[in-house]
Amino acid sequence: MTEKKWPETWQEVNPGCMVFRPGSASEYHTGSWRAKRPIWENEKCIKCGVCYIYCPEGCVTENTDGFFEANLDYCKGCGICAHECWPAAIKMVNEED
């Protein structure tokens, strides 16, 4: 979890509170919210990309082998990818394990 960085002084607050850093929300790691994490069993994976498309965080990405994995900095452990996986290749396991 990254710490929030607030502007030190009022002079540093942009006019209109405009944010000129698109996508800067990625500084905040929502992965700390997780109670479960997804584990891919690549032997079962059919590389359809359904887990990639259904992730609300957009944190599931395709690696160089064409298999998928979640970026654990952002994965909230919602379980949608595991639930939607056609060949049941994704398992949700507890964070503590």
Binding site: W10, V13, P15, M18, F20
Partner: protein, 388 residues
């Protein structure tokens, strides 16, 4: 050199906006502003200005659409009155917080209830805390001049704030007055094209209107406060430039015969012209009367006021609105507060005049001055002429 015409002031204000080459107008009609809306749409539909006129479905949407278009970098104008201003009031502080220099022409009209379409200032007074720069015009010429000045002041990179130009509904909007309309070429020289600080465009991605947590909200408000307080410098600069180019002088507080005044009236808006005549009449009768006309309401001209009241014994502040359950009229209470720390300050009395379009005549102003000479009225504030 400008052209001297006789023109209905509402129409003239739209003409002034046209001279400023606005890009978008988003206006909803309301009496007595309707002629402003109508004439702006005439100007657009005749192709006299290359612009879009959005026939919005409410005032709230008018200011909302104005924000949307100003945020893309389009010079935007809107106009309203009374209930319309109140309806869009949720958006006013957002426009100033977002630092968008929208210009709004307000035809001041009484606020309901009871419903009343005639002139007073009860619509603009509740908006004084919203962070908009506010000009008050005394006559048609000032309406035209201030509309053009408003774009220049608001768009200045040191300001970046919305500006409203206040003209009395019916008393000004529906009067045909002699006005020197500046030439397009003169206005182009005075008012350059708008170069926005930031715009909504994919080539430079920005998020506007973000969420301000408690950790930064105060800092954001401080930033806005500093901007509006410092804007008085820019207002005076622009007014100096205007005087140099067009020959007409503007000051935040304009004094009339106050060099040796004993009692001075204070007015805002078109009543000032009637008050001037009253001062002249009183002077003829040997009464040392004077008049202060406030042209810049926000940011409040503290220094100019303190200078203007030096030597005056009594101020008779006229208000065109009441702060119910409060210390009387808004102008009165702000002037009193502004002068509180000044060791030698005038006594101040408050007349609330001309509510809901009630006429105030020269004799009334003369009476106000005579009774104010005592330095105190029988009540903290007096609704002048109320029957019963």
């Amino acid at each position: 050199m400008g052209k001297r015409v006789g023109m209905e002031v509402a129409i003239a204000s739209a003409e002034a906006a046209a001279l400023c080459r606005f890009d978008v107008a988003a206006v909803y009609p309301i009496t007595p502003q309707s002629h402003v809306a109508e004439h702006l749409s005439d100007i657009v539909n005749d192709g006299r200005v290359d612009a879009s006129f959005i026939t919005v479905e409410s005032e709230h949407s008018a200011l909302s659409a104005a924000i949307g278009s100003e945020a893309t970098g389009a010079r935007t104008v809107t106009a309203t009155s009374s209930q319309g201003l109140l309806y869009m009031s949720e958006i006013l502080p957002i426009a100033s917080a977002m630092r968008l220099p929208i210009v709004m022409i307000i035809a001041n009209r009484a606020v309901s209830g009871p419903i009343n379409i005639w002139n007073d200032h009860s619509d603009i007074m509740p908006m004084r805390d919203t962070g908009w720069i506010s000009f008050f015009a005394d006559n048609g010429q000032e309406v035209v001049d201030m509309t053009i000045q408003a774009f220049k002041v608001g768009e200045d990179r040191r300001v970046m704030l919305p500006v409203n130009v206040n003209m009395d509904g019916f008393q000004l909007t529906h009067m045909v007055e002699p006005i020197i309309m500046p030439d397009q070429e003169e206005v182009d020289r005075f008012l350059p094209a708008y170069i926005p600080f930031a715009t909504l465009h994919p080539d430079k991605v920005v998020s506007m209107g973000t969420l301000g947590m408690p950790e930064i909200y105060a800092e954001a408000q401080k930033s806005k406060d500093v901007a509006i307080v410092n804007s008085i410098k820019v207002v005076k600069e622009v007014w100096k430039e205007w005087e140099a180019q067009f020959g007409r002088k503007y000051e935040p507080v304009q004094s009339y015969r106050t060099e040796d005044a004993d009692v001075a009236l204070v007015t805002m808006g078109s009543m000032g012209e009637t008050a001037e005549i009253a001062v002249d009449e009183l002077r003829k009768q040997g009464v040392k009367a004077g008049l202060l006309k406030i042209k810049l309401w926000r940011p409040f001209p503290f220094d100019d006021l303190k200078k203007a009241v030096k030597g005056i014994r009594v101020l008779a502040v006229t208000d065109r609105a009441i702060s119910f359950g409060g210390p009387g009229g808004p102008v009165f209470s702000e002037i009193r507060s502004a002068l509180y720390d000044v060791p030698k300050r005038p006594k101040i009395v408050n007349y609330i005049i001309g509510l809901g379009g009630r006429d105030v005549q020269v004799e009334n102003f003369m009476d106000m001055v005579r009774r104010a000479a005592k330095g105190k009225l029988s009540e903290p504030y007096e609704i002048y002429g109320v029957r019963g």
